[in-house]
């Protein structure tokens, strides 16, 4: 019953703190909104209409491949991105690039087909214009075409000219052209094409980060009570020391749970963030992060005096964990993200992202749970040794 008194008082105390409310509720929502909106274009794998590239085409090849090129260029997949501006000669094409009536030029030499099918070197000339984005788009499109031609060259060398019916190599190139243009767009993304939005991504990462901050406030609160002697006074009342600690932790735990519910509720209702179907995984990841951060508070409290060190330790731990788990921005595959695997943030993040992606993978959820449980138990054990006061 004294436990209840302490829990209730602690909650009232926290809620009366406007700074606390701002930092723990308004700030995360604000950050999710700002980051989610600002970085939206970096994340979204929209079927964005690329601007059509005007290609000055100098097609001098009257052979087999030249005909197929013409056919290929007129297919919808290519025609969407390329508007052909036939040009009579290489110099006319360059003139068009100069005066801006074309963005890119392709010169196919007269002996192209013959040379390819003979196994000789076949060269298209790609001439870049002034817009690097369009250059890239065009060159990728033609490159994919060329790749196919090279395949075809190989086939032709092996089987001799006069391909068997179906001409599989060239046909395969057709549908592929679109998707390879698509995959080019993805290379420019940070995500290797994961279909969640920036808003979702930052909703998850900021939620985790601010749940860790909940632990920091717990720790600072306890350290401050030590500094301000109210903790000693509490220990002079007929309440078991254990109840004093657990009462305060319980209150902060409940507040953090409420915080998670409000952030998830608000982002999904107002900002349209889809947290996915595995609400269980999301909830479990949140609980684990909260318990971990409370454990960290208890651990730091056992070793340090004062709210200063508590603040420093938490800022450091939260900063490092959020960074390496990709919480501030997506990290490239490799060392950095491997380091992330040693953080609780990473596994919580993956649990939530999985839910958003509609995947059911219980591994990260289990890992985050185990980390939190072990850490919490360990910090309580240390704390019992170190003692609560004096």
């Amino acid at each position: 019953m004294n436990l209840g008194t302490i829990v209730a008082f602690e909650i009232r105390r926290a809620v009366k703190h406007p700074v606390y409310l701002f930092i723990q509720l308004i700030l995360p929502l604000l950050l999710i909104f700002i980051l989610g909106t600002a970085l939206d274009s970096v994340f979204t794998v929209k079927d964005e209409k690329l601007e059509t590239v005007r290609v000055a085409l100098v097609q001098q090849d009257k052979g087999e491949i030249g005909a197929e090129l013409d056919k290929w260029l007129r297919l919808p997949a290519a025609a969407d991105r390329i508007r052909l501006e036939p040009a009579a000669s290489r110099s006319e094409a360059i003139g068009r690039l100069r005066n801006g009536t074309a963005d890119f030029a392709l010169v196919v030499p007269p002996d192209f087909s013959a040379s390819v099918l003979r196994g000789g070197s076949a060269k298209w000339e790609l001439i870049a214009g002034g817009d690097s984005g369009k250059n890239l788009a065009a060159s990728v499109i033609f490159q994919s075409m060329l790749d196919r031609l090279n395949d075809r060259q190989a086939v032709s060398l092996a089987l001799g000219p006069g391909l068997p019916a179906g001409q599989p190599a060239m046909q395969a190139a057709t549908p592929d052209a679109g998707s390879s243009a698509g995959s080019f767009v993805k290379i420019g993304q940070l995500a290797a094409g994961k279909p969640y939005s920036a808003m979702q991504y930052y909703a998850a990462s900021m939620l985790i980060m601010f749940l860790l901050y909940a632990g920091m406030f717990t720790g600072i609160g306890l350290a401050e009570e030590k500094e301000r002697h109210t903790l000693a006074r509490l220990h002079s009342t007929p309440v078991r020391p254990w109840h004093i600690l657990t009462g305060k932790l319980t209150a902060n735990f409940l507040l953090a749970v409420l915080q998670a519910v409000l952030i998830i509720g608000f982002t999904s209702a107002v900002m349209g963030v889809d947290w996915g179907a595995s609400i269980g995984a999301v909830a479990f990841a949140c609980l684990a992060v909260i318990l971990f951060s409370i454990g960290l508070a208890v651990l730091v409290l056992s070793f340090t005096k004062g709210s200063g060190p508590m603040n420093v330790v938490f800022q450091l731990v939260i900063g490092v964990m959020t960074f390496f788990s990709g919480g501030f921005f997506q990290l490239p595959e490799g060392m950095l993200s491997r380091i992330g695997e040693f953080t609780v943030s990473h596994w919580a993040f993956q649990s939530i992202l999985n839910s958003m992606l509609g995947r059911t993978d219980w591994q990260p959820v289990a890992i985050v749970g185990v980390i939190a449980a072990v850490f919490l138990a360990g910090s309580f054990a240390v704390y019992r040794k170190a003692g609560y006061y004096e």
Binding site: T5, H229, A232, R233, S236, P238
Partner: protein
């Protein structure tokens, strides 16, 4: 009378430093026990052990028959501790503060409300109860600090230097409230390094120094220990060391204590030797501004026991 507190051979060490040194002390029910001692004497440490805030390294403390170490909840229930350092929640209203601690002592319902109002009225904060201590003066905070400790009408109220750093008016208010609490049935332990405060309210006094209880008894008993001494305070500027040395050489001199502006001399009869003292001072051309002769007090006792003044 009942023995309320019994400390036997109590020791507390910080590292190798002995802070409380084999302390034996008994406090009877109904007393106002003044614990007097200079800074660092070990008063707060003693009180924290009694309140269950500190482990006792050696010896035992019993309160109302319960061992503090073995039955902490029983003993804590009987104590109202007013800590030396203000221990209130600055961002919660005075009422919230008192209410919270009252609940922790198990008060509920109508009784809770009644006792909380009573405590607030007792310290004169009834009309400021909705305000946060942030806006209070030092004296008001001290009074709130007291209110938080008395709602459960504890058998023993412990006040650790409750008048530190406050104006004389609040100080008198607090001293008066100590008497009132005692009249209402609580035994009081009151620590201070102000001799006057302890002398004004205590029925019995213990003097601590360097972790040891160097004297204990009623004020009369303690004064009797220094009955043979009289103190003469001489106000003067710039008394040369040679003059002080010559005073020390006087055959009936007990002690010479140089002050910032003057000197205190302790003799078994100041009247008998007044001429000698004045002679020495005038020989060294000391211009005397005033002379005061006082009866021995607790300060005198402390000096005679330790050779040091309480005040520094």
């Amino acid at each position: 009378m009942n023995r309320l507190v019994e400390m036997k051979d109590v020791v507390k060490k910080y590292g190798s430093k002995v802070t409380v040194d084999h302390l034996n002390l008994t406090i009877q029910e109904g007393e106002i026990f003044g614990l007097l001692g200079p800074n660092g004497a070990g008063k707060s440490t003693t009180i924290h052990m009694l309140s269950g805030l500190l482990k006792i390294d050696y010896g035992s403390i019993c309160l109302d028959g319960f061992s503090v170490a073995e039955r902490p909840l029983e003993t804590k229930r009987r104590i109202g501790l007013v800590p030396q350092d203000l221990a209130i929640y600055e961002e919660m209203s005075a009422l919230d503060n008192v209410m919270f601690f009252a609940r922790l002592y198990g008060l509920r319902g109508a009784l809770l409300k009644e006792r909380v109002d009573e405590a607030l009225a007792f310290v004169g904060l009834q009309d400021r109860k909705k305000d946060k201590p942030k806006s209070f003066s030092g004296g008001m905070k001290r009074r709130l600090n007291i209110a938080c400790a008395i709602t459960h009408r504890p058998k023993l109220i412990i006040m650790d230097e409750p008048t530190v750093g406050i104006d004389p008016q609040s100080r008198n208010h607090i001293l008066e409230s100590v008497r009132e609490l005692n009249r209402m049935g609580s035994t009081v332990i009151y620590t201070s390094h102000y001799m006057e405060e302890v002398a004004a309210i205590s029925t019995r006094v213990g003097i601590m120094d360097g972790g040891r209880l160097i004297a204990c008894g009623t004020q009369e008993e303690l004064r009797a220990k220094v009955a043979g001494e009289e103190k003469l305070t001489i106000e003067a500027q710039g008394i040369p060391e040679a003059a002080l040395e010559e005073l020390r050489q006087h055959p009936h001199m007990i002690r010479v204590v140089p002050l910032e502006e003057g000197v205190e001399v302790y003799l078994n009869s100041t009247q008998a030797y007044l001429q000698d003292i004045l002679f020495v001072l005038s020989k060294h051309q000391v211009r005397i501004r005033s002379l005061t002769q006082t009866e021995p007090d607790l300060e005198t006792l402390f000096l005679s026991l330790t050779g040091r003044s309480l005040r520094d």
